[in-house]
């Protein structure tokens, strides 16, 4: 029923709006082209809004956007999936490899008698993430979503994840270790940037989204202890002036920081880069919560800071330790402790020489192993391995105690 503009050799599916200024979008913009290059063409299926074309053909890549606006998150995900099923039906003849990012895209791509390899890229599991966004999600609903995640993990041919922390969580869920490839997020080295005209003399930077688990409130409390440093400012570049952001703004004014914190929203990448490159420090005050500790996360902002040669002060959590070594590219501090965070920032601010050393180490760290080229080479190598194993789809690698009953309904 769905007719495609061309027969896709590969398919990249993500329940994310694309393109946007968010991390997920950056990831898709890097990974999807690598897939299409490898396969000689393909189809990108993502979310869109009415300002984006529903269909787009660029050389050998067709982009199809799911644009129906359904207010209910789950209903929209279900409708998104059923539209994907029809695309998969239409692409059945030509499809050789499929890459998906979530359990909403997964089921149609991991069907039993498929003729393509399926890669599941796990950045986070909705069964863990969703309660942050929707506190009233019923446990039985989360259990169902978890069952679908397990089904996708079991039936796919390979799992890709950006952090070892996430990989070990997946192992705990019963995924065969051999099936998992850790491909850290990348960042491209940022050359030195002109100082933004309206930038304060001296500032530390937070950039990114502002959900509670990001721990920006800890940073604000820490910053309140640094008010003796007269000329120091905190610049916060948020991805959107959301409810969370407004909550933090009012916290800042309660802490008496109104004229010391500069809030900016929705900066484009090229606008953000000068702010990042000229910061004294970049702070990633991630909270010590189940989401960050057990599931793991891939704080792209840390890698991007290193790539700009900016030392990072971050929470000492397993996924962060994969990127930053304490005392080398920055400092790792105990999470959720404003006093500790403030002390680490103060010490580094007092020592230009240490910052300089860290800056050099940071750039080196990225150039040696964290550029996008590294990530894409690892991804392409994985695709090539899958090409050579065409007849071993969906090997079962679940541990017996884990039930996936109902996952195939």
């Amino acid at each position: 029923m769905t007719t495609l503009l061309r027969s896709p050799e590969s398919l990249y599916a993500a329940y994310d709006r694309f393109p946007t200024q968010k991390g997920a979008s950056t990831h898709i913009a890097r990974f999807a082209p690598a897939l299409f290059r490898h396969a000689g063409g393909g189809l990108l299926y993502v979310l869109g809004d009415s300002s984006m074309p529903q269909r787009q053909l660029e050389e050998n890549v067709e982009i199809v956007r799911f644009r129906r606006e359904i207010p209910n998150f789950l209903e929209r995900a279900i409708a998104f999936q059923s539209a994907l099923s029809r695309i998969v039906d239409a692409a059945r003849g030509s499809l050789r490899i499929a890459h998906f990012r979530d359990p909403w895209s997964g089921p149609p791509l991991v069907t039993a008698n498929r003729s393509w390899a399926a890669v599941y890229e796990v950045n986070a599991l909705p069964s863990i993430e969703l309660p942050n966004a929707f506190p009233s999600v019923a446990p039985r609903t989360l259990a169902k979503i978890r069952a679908v995640e397990l089904h996708c993990l079991e039936a796919c041919d390979a799992v890709v994840t950006p952090s070892r922390t996430t990989a070990s969580m997946l192992e705990r869920l019963g995924v065969n270790r051999a099936k998992i490839t850790v491909i850290p997020n990348g960042a491209d080295p940022v050359p030195s940037q002109p100082r933004p005209v309206d930038a304060p003399e001296r500032y530390i930077l937070y950039f990114g989204a502002m959900q509670r688990w990001q721990g920006v409130d800890t940073l604000l409390r820490a910053f309140a202890r640094l008010t003796d440093l007269d000329e120091l400012r905190l610049v916060v570049c948020g991805s959107a002036r959301s409810r969370d952001a407004r909550r933090l703004e009012s916290l800042a004014s309660k802490l008496g920081l109104s004229d010391r914190v500069v809030w900016q929203y929705e900066l484009h990448d090229r606008e953000l880069r000068p702010w990042l490159a000229n910061a004294e420090l970049s702070v990633a005050p991630l909270r010590e919560c189940a989401r960050n500790v057990e599931q793991g996360c891939a704080p792209l902002k840390i890698v991007e800071s290193l790539a700009a040669g900016v030392p990072v002060v971050a929470s000492n959590l397993p996924p962060v330790r994969e990127i930053v070594t304490d005392g080398i590219e920055g400092r790792l501090v105990v999470p959720d402790r404003p006093a500790d965070l403030a002390r680490a920032i103060r010490v580094l601010l007092h020592s230009p020489q240490r910052r300089e050393e860290m800056s050099i180490a940071a750039r080196r760290r990225v150039e040696e192993s964290l550029t996008w080229d590294h990530a894409l080479a690892a991804l392409t190598a994985l695709y090539e391995r899958l090409d050579s194993l065409p007849h071993q789809r969906g090997r079962i690698a679940l541990r017996p105690e884990i039930s996936i009953e109902g996952a195939r309904a």
Binding site: A138, P139, R140, A143
Partner: protein, 294 residues
């Protein structure tokens, strides 16, 4: 006018009967109901529009006939020419007059086109195909003699030296339907109309009377929700309505009432009625699945 008369002639005997009787009572599927009434409504719409025009034309012919008569009587044109012209103009005048009277006799209350039809068309979406709904429609004029409930004593009001209020009660629409989800909806509309006849003397000393209308429309809706599908919860009220909840063993009935006040004799917005039904469904939550939440 041609179109209007053509629309009238194209009606089936059943549809013409609706126009004559202006009452409808019984069990209809919404499909049959809409099929029966859409052409009637279309005729009514055309008729409302063209009656004004036809009225104007009849007046024009009458004036022309009078002018002709005067001109001929004064000998400007000979009687031999004038007489047939006058007769012709009078004939045209009479024809148009009769048409207007004929059309106004079959005029339906606008409530029909602007409230009853859209409401049936919306309710139909929630009904199983082919399922009938019960309804009783009275489309005679809201201020028909039979609907009069009384009148006030004459009183004075500002420049009007004589005002008499006439009161009418028009219970023109009620009905009930089973919906596809097993719930039922019943509704009843009663309008209390006040026609205020106001007489004043104008600058030239002539007595002029005009009618002003105001009405209070009572909308009542019962929605019964089966427990098999729904549980009834609380909801922030979104409209100004009285809601009573009556739980029973297998179903809960929500009784909703609201008033719409209007300072004319025009129909209210059907949305007022749709919102009232919606207000009941806003309280409906899905029944917990069998076995409860795992």
């Amino acid at each position: 006018m041609k179109k209007t008369l053509a629309a009238l002639n194209a009606l089936t005997p059943e549809q013409k009967a609706v126009l004559q009787e202006k009452r409808l009572e019984g069990s209809y599927t919404p499909q049959a109901m809409l099929a029966l009434l859409r052409p009637v409504s279309e005729f009514d719409r055309l008729s409302d529009k063209s009656r004004v025009g036809i009225g104007c034309w009849s007046a024009v012919f009458f004036v022309l006939a009078v002018v002709c008569l005067i001109v001929t009587a004064n000998g400007v044109i000979p009687w031999l020419l004038g007489a047939p012209l006058i007769l012709g103009l009078l004939g045209a005048f009479l024809f148009f007059l009769v048409t207007v009277i004929r059309l106004s006799k079959v005029d339906l209350s606008n409530n029909f086109r602007q409230i009853a039809l859209p409401f049936v068309a919306i309710l139909r979406e929630d009904m199983e195909k082919g399922e009938p709904m019960q309804m009783k429609l009275d489309l005679t004029a809201p201020t028909a003699k039979t609907k009069k409930t009384g009148e006030s004593d004459a009183y004075a009001l500002g420049v009007y030296y004589k005002v008499v209020d006439h009161f009418y009660r028009d219970a023109w629409f009620e009905g009930s339907a089973w919906l596809a989800d097993g719930s039922s909806v019943s509704w009843a509309i009663v309008e209390d109309i006040t026609e205020s006849m106001r007489t004043k003397r104008n600058a030239r000393g002539k007595h002029k009377t005009k009618s002003k209308y105001r009405k209070i429309c009572h909308l009542a809706v019962d929605v019964t929700l089966p427990h098999k599908e729904y549980s009834v919860g609380a909801a922030e009220p979104s409209i100004d309505a009285k809601v009573k909840v009556k739980p029973a063993e297998k179903r809960t009935t929500l009784r909703l009432k609201r008033k719409v006040k209007i300072k004319s004799n025009e129909p209210w917005d059907v949305r007022a009625l749709i919102e009232l039904v919606a207000e009941a469904f806003r309280r409906a939550k899905p029944a917990a699945p069998a076995g409860g939440a795992a």
